[in-house]
Symmetry: C2
Subunit: 125 residues, 2 copies
DNA sequence: TCTGTATTTAACCTATCAGTTATTTAACCT
DNA sequence: AGGTTAAATAACTGATAGGTTAAATACAGA
């Protein structure tokens, strides 16, 4: 099922999530959603130094979220959405937890699994 | 629009993503998806010490992904999905990047934005 | 080939993270 | 009250993240 293109990093999802956890990197992605751009033009509007930008891009690249291609002396960065799709897939697993009302969910769980692991003698209600 | 329950941490999305970036914490969530559980019964199957588990739970709690409730001498942990819903919302904005074939997407971008910023012509100025 | 531009890499600094052991707090049960 | 269990907190440690400045690399153009 999983195409598992794990050539970049061992744990795909962890790499994706930790790459996305940085707001600067999300800003870079947002910018790239408008189309490919060279490093300099990503760095400037974010007030990033070139080395900082380059490092962020390396993180994004290792997570498979961005690819870089030489074009003359520039390096065009492009958004690669595959890891986002994978993330969406993972998230999907939890969808039922917010899709219906929370109340229903919890009620469902209560009856599905009367006691998780602890004994329920204290369960007055 | 945004309910903005930012009482826990400044940047919601960053907190959510960095909480989720740790595979141990994702395992905790997966376990909680089966129903609430006390800390000890989360720690044991993961080979986690109690302090380690407690710290992970604090991270998850600060991200709003988990709530803890005292019950006798135990502390029941429960999955809270709101941040996941928010994450799904964010992800949604990138959906078009993987929904259609990538080819179409790139073609679309090319015509939308003929030249990102790379302007080989501006150096003449 | 020399020069300027774009970007990366190296070396370093500080803060945060995930884990540890030891101690403390909280609630239960006699 | 005393003892036990559940969990949190404190204090410490090694690894990693994000930033810096300075040097190196890659390409383009005269």
């Amino acid at each position: 099922m999983s195409p598992a293109p794990d050539r970049l990093v061992p744990d795909h999802l962890s790499a994706t999530l930790s790459a996305l956890a940085d707001p600067t990197r999300r800003a870079i992605l947002a910018r790239l959603a408008q189309g490919p751009a060279p490093v300099g033009s990503l760095a400037a509007p974010l007030g990033l130094s070139l080395p900082a930008a380059s490092k962020h891009l390396t993180v994004l690249e290792r997570a498979g979220l961005v690819s870089r291609h030489r074009r003359a002396q520039w390096r065009d960065c492009r958004l690669e959405a595959a890891p986002l799709r994978e993330l969406a897939g993972w998230l999907q697993t939890y969808r039922r937890f917010w899709d219906d009302s929370m109340e229903r969910l919890h009620a469902y769980l209560e009856q599905l699994q009367p006691q998780p692991d602890t004994d329920q003698n204290h369960r007055g209600a």
